[in-house]
């Protein structure tokens, strides 16, 4: 198939950046979207140009590295998948495809389609964990967890930290990401002792990183490749309100 690509090119964080046009000819329709970009890049390199930079690693939808906005939608319009899982058979011969990075103030562009998402790591470092020193754990079956709690926790833990939720949100809010982590850990009995501390610290770090507020648009849920439900945001809001109230009582 033959396609026209409109691709965001930006040499480095200081460069202004612009859309450039590439003709992608004779693309096999069995190949993946990233393989299509590989083919285009091989041609660019052979012709003496600079290839299009994009992040990727596992190419099977689990590492959260790929971060393309395809035709205006983070990952793509197909629900429940990452950009690396998009296959060319979903496009038609002659299509024009717009390819841009995940855009957000808290995700500065490194080069072309590559962005810096280390803000997510700093949010986890602020409180997205259960403190347990290696070697100090009790027998794993000493603490039964109801299957419902375990499943709810798992649904949230499925987050791959790709940042599509932020890129899709007009406020560039990270509430789905933070909510998912809070739900993962707060649903478990092991997560209770640090629950309040955790939500306060993560939410405050999120604000400090320059992510916007959530105004209940739910674009995040729609683009999440792991289909994480926006319910985690409601739960985060509840947990946060309780933690703030408790903090105020202890402070006074």
């Amino acid at each position: 198939m033959n396609l026209t690509l409109k691709v965001w090119r930006q040499k480095n964080p200081d460069d202004h950046g612009r859309i450039e046009t590439y003709e992608a000819k004779d693309i096999p329709e069995e190949c993946s979207f990233l393989e299509m970009l590989d083919i285009v890049n091989e041609r660019i390199i052979t012709e003496g140009g600079d290839p299009i930079h994009f992040d990727h690693d596992c190419r099977e939808g689990i590492c959260g590295t790929c971060s393309l906005t395809i035709n205006g939608i983070p990952h793509s319009k197909e629900r429940g998948i990452t950009a690396c899982q998009v296959h060319m058979r979903k496009f038609r011969d002659g299509d024009t495809i717009w390819i841009e990075p995940f855009r957000a103030r808290a995700f500065p562009i490194v080069r072309d389609l590559v962005v810096d998402r280390t803000a997510f790591d700093r949010i986890i470092a602020a409180g997205g964990y259960i403190s347990v020193r290696t070697g100090s754990a009790q027998d794993a079956n000493a603490l039964p967890v109801s299957k419902d709690d375990a499943d709810a926790s798992f649904d949230a833990a499925a987050c791959i930290g790709c940042g599509a939720c932020v890129a899709a949100c007009k406020n560039a809010s990270a509430m789905l990401f933070v909510g998912a982590k809070a739900s993962h850990l707060n649903h478990l009995p092991q997560g209770q002792p640090e629950k309040d501390r955790r939500v306060l610290a993560m939410v405050r770090q999120m604000d400090a990183e320059g992510f916007g507020n959530c105004t209940n648009q739910y674009e995040c849920e729609a683009v999440c490749p792991k289909s994480i439900s926006a319910d985690v945001i409601a739960k985060l809001n509840r947990d946060y309100a309780i933690a703030v109230a408790k903090e105020a009582t202890t402070a006074s």
């Binding site: 040499k11 069995e30 393989e35 590989d38 083919i39 091989e42 390199i45 052979t46 003496g48 600079d50 290839p51 992040d55 990727h56 690693d57 190419r59 099977e60 689990i62 590492c63 959260g64 590295t65 998948i81 899982q85 296959h87 490194v110 080069r111 810096d116 280390t118 997510f120 790591d121 986890i124 470092a125 602020a126 997205g128 964990y129 259960i130 347990v132 020193r133 290696t134 070697g135 754990a137 009790q138 027998d139 794993a140 079956n141 603490l143 039964p144 967890v145 109801s146 299957k147 375990a150 926790s153 798992f154 833990a157 499925a158 791959i160 993962h184 850990l185 478990l188 092991q190 997560g191």
Partner: protein, 660 residues
């Protein structure tokens, strides 16, 4: 301490079951006030590196951790699907530390160290405790207790899992522990930073040279010791189930600086991957081995039926049961579809070589859920494998609920790696190697769900206990980056980067990688022979030579440059591939993932006559090859020097590995 051959494996004396406890009791300790003074470099943030970095920081050491991804959470361990083994015996089905030990030794075709494997089985239970405490959401039963499934090479259910994302959930637990330590200041994390060389000072590993992949800056890092946990080298084959960035660079650079590389020819080909469909293909996708619990593997009995399927004249459902060959169930009745990976892979290759493959390319067999769906219902199958089925459909474009999957073996894991002793220290003092990057526990073949176990055993439980045996003899902070060895290593790195940038040839890095990969897969893949290996050893240097004259690395080195990163990795694969073939050539026997066509059982062999094994099965030669091959570098293009570590089996009897 027993000394084996010319290399000292530092295996503690005493009965097998007591060795680890005894060793811990006799290991050196470093007092808390002194731990702060020691600095440790950990390269890698996967399960092995991440767990080591977090735990060593908890203990009070100063840790620097490096990874090439933008976040430590994205290390390739994230991709593991199926599960992690542990000898918990929660199912009360007769499992024990001994059984996990024995299955692993036998699964490895009697080419691993008893003491290491026993220790692995011993600490496996602690891993599950640790991960659950961190909040890893393993699958549970309605009673709230942990669930298990079975994996290849075992007759008990000892595999813990988290849907089809076990690696991700374990890595997130480990990553969170790491981030906690980063916030505390115990670990300084360097993401998007690639190690380009090891620095050896007076024979000891004391630092690394790295490149900041965003700014291009090349810098020196010194420490009291270096830990490599940089994963496996499966991408030497170009196509594999590994992430695109997986590479051998860190291990190979260490090898060139004196570290022995052990058993590189032990590579694992996973039986259940989605077949190759075209030459644009950039990687292969694994379908978890757990599918073999309920899926049945078959090809048509006749090549005519197979041809009809390939050409679209017949469908799988047109072939009646009596015309199907469920070849694993036929050849290995007691293990059936759960036969170990090497055996299952080779059987698929044999079926396709006989013209009975069903994929359009001829290289593919069926993995069929028809009977399981009839027996258990679609809902149960969906609950067990839903996400895997979905993944298959996305890639292959067909629905596995209604027509069987097509699968074919693909490179997946590498048992070989840097040689380490019982303390996980290489022959270069101070250089420790963990996880898939070392060679230590899986012998010639790894059992499913045992890599995650080994990575976490190494990082959480082994290295924290054994590292003081080295550190206690060192003065903290004794080496600075001003040392000549750093200047020399940095200059060499700069020269190499400049050289890669200046060749300005005509071919892309990928084109060389693909050419190398095809050659290595062809001559040193699922089946190997002397002639083919010799041919590969002639061709690899020619590809390497052309690479250094004709590769094109666009752009400049002062910013993010993906082609430069790839070029550095491929340059190392081009040297490493030779090492791989030398090892495969030298090992004149078949064992585990290493199948030499010259060494297989025939009708004339006693073991075949007695029905213990079948013709065509791998034939080990214990009298001559019961050793670890540890290779010393003698410079690119020269044949490396072989050192042997003899393997002593005191507790298990070497036997023909039978899964009949």
């Amino acid at each position: 301490m027993a000394s084996n051959g010319s290399i000292n494996s530092a295996i503690p004396s005493g009965p097998l079951a007591d060795k680890w406890t005894k060793h811990k009791n006799e290991s050196k300790l470093i007092n808390p006030a002194n731990k702060r003074k020691f600095s440790i470099i950990v390269v890698g943030s996967g399960l092995a590196g991440g767990s080591a970095a977090a735990t060593l920081s908890e203990l009070g050491y100063q840790v620097k951790c490096f990874c090439y991804q933008d976040s430590p959470r994205r290390a390739h361990s994230i991709a593991a699907q199926g599960g992690i083994n542990a000898a918990k015996n929660y199912q009360n089905d007769g499992d024990s530390v001994w059984r996990l030990f024995y299955d692993t030794i036998k699964g490895g075709d009697f080419r691993s160290r008893e003491a290491n494997v026993y220790r692995l089985a011993e600490v496996s239970a602690n891993i599950i405790d640790q991960c659950v405490a961190q909040g890893v959401p393993f699958a549970r039963e309605y009673g709230g207790l942990l669930d298990n499934r079975s994996f290849g090479g075992a007759q008990v259910s000892r595999t813990f899992y988290a849907r089809g994302q076990t690696g991700q959930q374990l890595l997130i637990g480990c990553y969170q522990a790491l981030e906690k330590e980063i916030a505390k200041g115990g670990v300084k994390m360097y993401p998007r930073t690639e190690m380009l060389d090891l620095v050896v000072v007076d024979g000891h590993a004391k630092g690394i040279i790295v490149r900041d992949m965003v700014t291009g800056e090349i810098s020196r890092h010194a420490a009291d010791c270096v830990i490599l946990a940089t994963g496996g080298y499966g991408n030497v084959f170009y196509l594999s189930t590994n992430a695109k960035g997986c590479n051998v660079m860190a291990a190979y650079r260490a090898h060139k600086r004196g570290a022995y590389f052990a058993n590189p020819c032990y590579t694992q080909i996973h039986p259940t991957c989605i077949p190759v469909s075209g030459d644009y293909q950039s990687k292969l996708t694994l379908m978890s081995e757990s599918l073999r619990n309920d899926g049945r593997i078959w090809v048509p009995k006749s090549p005519e039926d197979a041809a009809a399927i390939r050409e679209g004249r017949k469908k799988a459902s047109d072939i009646p049961d009596e015309d199907r060959d469920y070849y694993l169930e036929r050849k290995y009745p007691s293990f059936g579809n759960l036969a170990p990976r090497d055996i299952s892979s080779r059987s698929a290759k044999e079926a396709c070589d006989e013209g009975r493959g069903v994929a359009p390319t001829g290289l593919g067999v069926f993995l069929d859920f028809r009977d399981a769906i009839d027996r258990l219902g679609k809902d149960t199958i969906e609950a067990r494998y839903g996400n895997l089925f979905q993944m298959y459909e996305k890639i292959a474009g067909t629905d596995p609920y209604t027509s069987p999957m097509q699968i074919y073996p693909a490179v997946h894991y590498t048992m070989g790696g840097l040689w380490v002793d019982y303390n996980l220290m290489s022959n270069v003092p101070g250089l420790h190697v963990l996880g898939e990057a070392n060679f230590s526990d899986h012998g010639a073949n790894r059992l499913g769900a045992s890599a995650l176990m080994q990575g976490l055993a190494d990082g959480y439980f082994v290295i924290p206990a054994t590292l003081p045996n080295y550190l206690a003899g060192e003065t903290p902070g004794s080496v600075s980056t001003e040392h000549d060895a750093f200047a020399e290593a940095e200059a060499a790195v700069r020269e190499r980067v400049d050289k890669l940038m200046s060749i300005d040839g005509k071919r892309t890095v990928d084109s060389f990688h693909r050419e190398l990969g095809l050659l290595v897969w062809d001559k040193c893949g699922m089946a190997r022979n002397e002639e083919g290996l010799k041919e590969a050893l002639e061709k690899i240097p020619a590809i390497r030579e052309e690479f250094w004259e004709n590769v094109r690395v666009p752009g400049d080195s002062g910013n993010l440059n993906a082609e430069l990163e790839k070029a550095g990795r491929v340059a190392d694969f081009l040297e490493f591939a030779e090492l791989l073939c030398y090892d495969a050539l030298e090992r004149e026997e078949s064992c585990g993932g290493h199948f030499r066509e010259e060494y297989q059982f025939t009708e004339d062999d006693e073991a075949v006559k007695t029905g213990h094994t079948g013709p065509g099965e791998a034939k080990r030669r214990d009298d001559e090859f019961c050793y670890v091959a540890a290779w010393e570098s003698t410079g690119a293009g020269n044949k490396p020097k072989l050192h042997k570590e003899d393997l002593d089996f005191e507790n298990v009897k070497l036997s023909v590995r039978s899964y009949k």
